[in-house]
């Protein structure tokens, strides 16, 4: 679909990259950019639920807290959860996938059946079930749960690549030269999986961000004073009729973040996967 070959000719990829860089930048610079303390409540009987104004560009919430500052700070939570969870999930998924693909047989059967079982649940539903195991919800539990669910796709991708390559000459040559199993897996097989893994991981970051927001919206994730777009939206629903801006802006930020990551993921797939090249 690219007008020209290469990343510079891919409109979706460029748009996604721009969105992600812009949002990540704004969020990382939150301490500098945020006009107010995101936790500062209106003093005494001060005004709350103010409409957007010059003092508060996105308005204020029910406690008189500045929404722009909160949206920016909450983005740090989304970014950290999205990336952090995915990093750990990629690590676990790679170990499981490479082991399964390399050794085959019983190891493969057991590991892949385990993957099938985790994937046999609608993801958010299993996440909710896992959260229920803990006595009280919180962002730390969301991270644990998302890691526990996130490795499966990665494992399948890594296993597929290893399966396809393990009988090729360069692997046999490495064997003949005396390379150990670990060396072959890490140095010779895994690097070949980088492109598909990058695509899967990018899409994974997007899913993590949506899942965290969803769980926090349901009251099963971040708890006050931790700021999360999902939790802000739950507040926003309460004041939808009187102060719609409380619900509009955190959601818009979430939409842009997910859109950016999705465009980036789609673009990477187009650019890296030869099957999608025209």
């Amino acid at each position: 679909m690219a007008a020209r070959p290469g990343p510079l000719g891919h409109r979706g990829f460029l748009a996604g990259l721009a969105l992600v860089v812009l949002l990540a930048g704004a969020v990382l610079l939150a301490p500098l950019l945020a006009p107010h303390d995101p936790l500062a409540v209106a003093s005494g009987a001060g005004p709350t639920l103010e409409r957007p104004s010059t003092a508060h560009p996105l308005g204020t919430d029910a406690l008189g807290r500045d929404l722009l500052s909160r949206v920016l700070w909450a983005g740090r939570v989304s970014l950290a959860v999205g990336l952090g969870v995915e990093l750990v999930a990629v690590l676990i998924g790679c170990v499981i996938g490479v082991l399964a693909g390399y050794y085959g047989g019983a190891v493969d059967a057991v590991l892949m059946r385990a993957t099938d079982v985790v994937m046999a649940f609608p993801s958010l539903v299993l996440a909710i079930g896992l959260i229920a195991v803990f006595e009280r919800p919180g962002l730390d539990k969301v991270v644990i749960v998302l890691v526990a669910l996130g490795w499966t796709t990665i494992a399948r991708v890594a296993r597929g690549t290893v399966l396809a390559l393990k009988t090729r000459e360069f692997v046999q040559a490495a064997h003949a030269l005396g390379a150990g199993h670990v060396t072959i897996m890490v140095r010779h097989l895994l690097p070949n999986a980088v492109a598909p893994l990058l695509v899967a991981a990018t899409i994974g970051v997007g899913s993590n961000i949506v899942a965290e927001a969803g769980l926090s919206f349901l009251g099963l994730g971040a708890q006050s004073p931790t700021i999360s777009w999902g939790a802000m939206l739950a507040d926003g629903q309460t004041f939808l009729a009187t102060a719609p801006w409380v619900a509009v802006f955190p959601g818009l930020a979430l939409l842009l973040a997910v859109l950016g990551v999705n465009l980036l993921g789609d673009g990477l797939r187009d650019l890296l996967d030869p099957r999608f090249r025209e």
């Binding site: 979706g12 059946r113 385990a114 099938d116 079982v117 985790v118 046999a120 649940f121 609608p122 993801s123 958010l124 539903v125 299993l126 909710i128 079930g129 896992l130 959260i131 229920a132 195991v133 006595e135 919800p137 997007g206 949506v210 927001a213 969803g214 919206f217 349901l218 009251g219 099963l220 999902g230 939206l233 926003g236 629903q237 939808l240 009729a241 719609p244 619900a247 509009v248 959601g251 979430l254 939409l255 997910v258 859109l259 999705n262 465009l263 789609d266």
Partner: protein, 315 residues
């Protein structure tokens, strides 16, 4: 033809056994970990001693884990999901009451996503690369990227709060007005996927020789698309309906919460809040079973539509 189908169908049913074992084992273990010592503080505060005693008996908590699991599966097979802590009645009963509302919502969302998605996809495929195509595909990506609960809030803000055309939330008397916003919300995510898949699968089919033949006969482009291309583009669409099931089941707890829709998803969420573990685990199990069985049906539909598959994976 039916003889042909016997072996692959059997193969898929057999493949289901380890998955079902895994699902029940996982839910059982979650339950065991969550309950731990049932007299644990978190539960002790909310459940009365009698309920705890019943729990110990129901789950045979003094027996070894494998025995507990076997007993639990045995009761599961008889439709016994235990008793709700909160409502003091069978979980199966609590869940059964919620299923019709979720099914109604899911069905409406599916119809919306398929009709709208296929129409958008086909329209975009008529002139690939045109502004219309770009516009519609941008819309599709937006649909896929919009978090379902925020979309729900925004639709509710526009159509219920501001315009006052539709009710904000609730089930009402089971009327269409109450169904409209939740169904559009839940359907939107999947509409984008269907649209993209319909478009790319139509464009794929359009390159085939028999389409060139149809064009050479001088048929107008829209007739070529509808008469010749669409039918063959249906196979990937079945895949998409399968993916849609996942979207529906993931979106249900969120959509139902936004619109206070009395379905299974909202039951699950509120049960977590109330730490009503038997209801949580029962609902998780029902969601998983619906998902697995739905995927099985999609798989079997393939076998019927595409005869090539009957041999490929028969081994």
């Amino acid at each position: 033809m039916l003889v042909d189908l016997g072996r692959p169908v059997l193969g898929r049913l057999v493949a289901l056994v380890p998955v079902l074992f895994g699902i029940t084992l996982l839910v059982f273990l979650l339950n065991a970990v969550a309950l731990g010592d049932p007299a644990r503080a978190a539960m002790g505060q909310r459940a009365d001693p009698e309920a705890l005693e019943r729990l110990r008996r129901d789950y045979a908590l003094d027996r070894p884990l494998p025995v507990q699991y076997a007993l639990w599966v045995g009761r599961l097979a008889r439709g016994d999901l235990g008793e709700s802590f909160r409502e003091q009645r069978p979980v199966a009963e609590v869940i059964a009451e919620r299923v019709p509302a979720t099914m109604r919502l899911a069905l409406a969302a599916t119809v919306i996503s398929i009709v709208a998605g296929m129409a958008i996809g086909a329209l975009a495929a008529v002139r690939p690369g045109s502004p219309l195509d770009h516009g519609l595909m941008t819309l599709a990506v937006l649909g896929i990227s919009t978090p379902v609960f925020w979309l729900g809030l925004m639709l509710s803000l526009v159509f219920a709060v501001t315009l006052d055309w539709l009710p904000v939330s609730g089930y009402g008397e089971g009327d269409w007005a109450h169904l409209a916003l939740p169904a559009f919300t839940l359907g939107a995510l999947h509409t984008g996927t269907v649209a993209r898949m319909t478009r790319s699968s139509l464009l794929e089919v359009v390159r085939q020789d028999y389409i060139a033949t149809a064009r050479a006969k001088g048929l107008p482009e829209w007739l070529v698309l509808i008469k010749h291309a669409f039918r063959n583009a249906l196979i990937p669409v079945v895949t998409v309906v399968g993916i849609g099931l996942a979207d529906l089941l993931v979106g249900a707890p969120l959509t139902e919460t936004v619109f206070a829709w009395p379905g299974l998803g909202r039951l699950l969420v509120s049960a977590v809040g109330q730490r009503d573990l038997p209801v949580v685990m029962g609902a998780v199990l029902v969601f998983a079973l619906v998902y697995v069985i739905g995927n099985l049906i999609v798989d079997l539909a393939y076998l019927v539509i595409d005869p090539r598959l009957r041999h490929e994976r028969a081994s």
